[in-house]
Amino acid sequence: MPVNCAIENALLNILKNKSRNILLGVITFVIITAEVAGMSIYNASGTIVKEFKARFGSEVALTPLKKSAEGITAEQAIAFSESECLLSTDINSSLTCRSDTLKAIGQTEGRSPNIIQGRENYGGDLSNAAMRLRGGQFDKILAEGKLPAILTDVKFWNRSLLARAARPAFRAGNNDPIPSFKVGQYKNECIVSSEFAKLNQLAVGDHISVQAGLFESGTLVETSISLTIVGIYVSAPSAAYPASYQNPNNEIIADFNTVASIQKEGQTGVAVNATYCLKSPELLALFEEEIRSKGLSPDFSVTTDEAGYRRLVGPIENLNSVSLAFLLMLFALGVAVMALVSMLAIRERKYEIGVLRAMGMKKGQVALGLWVETAAVTTVCFALGMLAGGLLSQPISDTLLAASGSIPVSVSISPLTALEIFAVAIVLASIAGFVSVSQITKYEPMKILMERN
């Protein structure tokens, strides 16, 4: 069949026109290699930008403008956290305390002998407190069975152990799962560090009692709180701290409400720490409007660390747009080079085309033959280019990210990327083919042969 013989002829031609096809192949190879590297960097950085935005959001700082500014109440902190603008919220309440029956880690008799002795030792100076009662959204920890972002100082905690502590069976102290969780169920329950438990010979199920120091019109009021230990997490060994209540291993972790509700009307002493992360920095104005209407005092400023966010996301966003520009430029260059190469190739092969046409091969078949020849070379070089590009993309990306001062990012070619690049290759080959066809159509065989003679 004539069509078959056009294709067969094309394939034989690949070897007959070695130098030309090698040139074409090298060009394709270089373009595809660069395209793969660029495309995988573009995709990777795009993913990372999205991930970073989702993961880090933009942290909002609520900063008191006056020393006398009253703290944010637990109710406010929770009300604020319900905003649609937020990606995540991290609320905890904390309170320094002491105990007549428990010892704190790092508590040196000589240095602060009075720490756990009398109320006068508070003296309005919190550094005399022995430990800290920390209220996270404990019910959430337990219900979700994982460590959510709602607790601060997570770096000091053994995440996996805390997660295990949160498992119902662990909490029950046996293998019977507890069927359901309710908010507020954990009232007066707590978990402690293994170091603290060892020091005080505590076990799950034990009851402990601590005294919290609160203030009422400038006077210290001590409140006694009884807690039941429902979990012990394995802690990293304690470092040295100036005051024992600063040691995270001395933190008794209870439910947020358990800690927040210790403070009665008219009292101060429970610190509510809230960190809000916006879905994106642009939502700041909206969020501020919302929390002001929910009662945030004008004594607080609402700001984001946009510079920090940009520092984190910016370099990758830059890399993303640079790689896109690079891709587009490369694509344009590829198109131009392919068009030029095929134009030159046609001119160079005018005689051959004339002979084939004189022998009765149709224009379409001649064009098909040229396209097959180009496509075959392109395909082989596509495969090689993919390989080389895949190998190159990681070091290139590393270099770019290092130059922009960002964290290293793992770059790889997904099947989708491969498909995209294949589409690019096909477009390039087709442009070459299109140029061939339009050139061939210009010449009648007679003219082609005459010009050569």
């Binding site: 004539p2 013989c5 002829n9 034989l12 007959k16 149709k362 224009k363």
Partner: protein, 232 residues
């Protein structure tokens, strides 16, 4: 049966002032050998290229089996019906002699598998005096006479109705020439095809059934007076 018929065919090259061919009429029958003579530059090759459907005449018409070459698929006409030997051969230089012939068979759609084509092509090449060793060399590395014979084998390869050859024996020695002429005679008289040869050679005009001469754009019946006859 009339194979090709020229009806007041005129042709002018693009940009040229004068007509190369000026109202030529003639008819070429199946089963005959025709010779066309004429001075260099008289337009013989131009006439052949029109008859082989490589170009279209400016005015007038060329009919193949009663149909105008303007209207029929000229690619198919060249591929199947006409076999052309070019003055400058027009072979694929980077391919072997054998491939030039088998490719022509392939384009014509001859019902042979690739082995069959090779065998037939080889036989044909042997017939015009190209042995298998020569046939497997690239055309680029063949002598002028060898290339000419490859061109002839290619023109005959698809068993065309009309063989159009531009000085097919110009590069051949007398012995080879007569062998080739015998083949052309067989094609016309044996197979009943139409053979049209452009020539300066007396042995060609001698074996032709009809002779035309081309002069001043006109085609005249009979042999033109040769230049050397005037000299003395």
């Amino acid at each position: 049966m009339t194979c090709l018929e020229l009806k007041s065919v005129s042709y002018r090259y693009g940009g040229a002032r004068d007509l190369v061919l000026d109202g030529i009429s003639a008819s070429f029958e199946m089963g005959k050998v025709y010779a066309i003579t004429g001075e260099s530059g008289s337009g013989k090759s131009t006439l052949l290229s029109l008859m082989s459907g490589l170009d279209i005449c400016g005015s007038g018409d060329i009919l193949y089996m009663g149909k105008s070459l303007r209207d029929i698929d000229r690619d198919a006409y060249r591929a199947k019906s006409a076999g052309v030997v070019f003055q400058s051969f027009n072979l694929l230089l980077n391919s072997t002699a054998l491939y030039n012939v088998t490719l022509s068979m392939g384009i014509s759609g001859i019902p042979l598998d690739s082995n069959g084509k090779k065998m037939a092509a080889q036989a044909l090449l042997e017939k015009v005096g190209v042995n298998s060793a020569t046939a497997s060399r690239k055309v680029l590395k063949l002598s002028g006479g060898e290339q000419q014979r490859v061109g002839i084998a290619r023109a005959l390869s698809h068993n065309p109705d009309v063989v159009i050859a531009d000085e097919p024996t110009g590069n051949l020695d007398a012995e080879t020439e007569s062998a080739i002429l015998k083949i052309f005679a067989d094609v016309a008289h044996g197979d009943g095809k139409c053979v049209i040869l452009v020539t300066h050679s007396e042995s060609v005009t001698a074996m032709a059934d009809e002779v035309f001469s081309l002069c001043d754009g006109k085609l005249a019946y009979g042999e033109a007076k040769r230049e050397d006859e005037f000299g003395l």
